[in-house]
Assembly symmetry: C2
Homo-oligomer: 128 residues x 2
């Protein structure tokens, strides 16, 4: 089966999660082989958390899972696009729909470009 | 000005090039500070080529430059989306519109999902 070249990539490949319906890029995270296999087996996107050093079932805490529609592999097999349905409507732990919620124009001015969907304190608890 | 945290990211951040009109994800490459600044200064996307170890003006050889529309920064400031107009209609050196031209469905079956726009031999010469 077609799969990333985990050996070439040092075990981890960057994964772009894209909303399958709107085309909005939601986040970028990483998969190792285990995350890739769990994603295909379960139909919900799993990543490898580099900061926590463990498998990360996205939405396992918040309920905001990413239902897998398809996976796309690039020409070098060292990057992935995951087309997903984002349950809860927000991928970012800050409550924004997309982690990429800040946009910089050609003139250098910045603005918000993705709506805030939830209050992190209400989903993760105070201090989140 | 808002910019990636190049120090945290070891000098390089992953950059997702996305077609500004269609929303198709075209490729993933990397920027260092110099590439980021050249992109904003010139309005054409520059990357840092990890394989060649030098600044890479995308399309400098083929003419298939990426005209910058805007840059988006993620919550951690360690990943970027570049919204672009892809001159020539293809981002991939293989001639496909997107480097992500292979799709794997939930059933594990793969198929092409992006059209071939040009013949690499005609753009880069024989043996390309």
């Amino acid at each position: 089966m077609l799969e990333p070249d985990f050996d070439k990539a040092g075990g981890l490949v960057p994964v772009i999660a894209q909303d399958a319906a709107s085309g909005e890029v939601l986040m970028l995270a990483y998969m190792n082989r285990q995350a890739w296999e769990e994603t295909l087996r379960t139909g919900e996107v799993h990543y490898w958390s580099r900061s926590r050093g463990k498998l990360w079932h996205k939405g396992g805490t918040s309920g905001h899972v990413q239902r897998l529609k398809s996976l796309r592999l690039d020409c070098d097999r060292d990057a992935v696009v995951a087309l997903v349905e984002q349950v809860g409507g927000a991928a970012c732990h800050t409550g924004y729909r997309s982690c990429f919620y800040r946009e910089i124009g050609r003139d250098g001015a910045d603005a918000e470009c993705s709506p805030k969907v939830f209050d992190p304190e209400k989903v993760y608890g105070p201090g989140a």
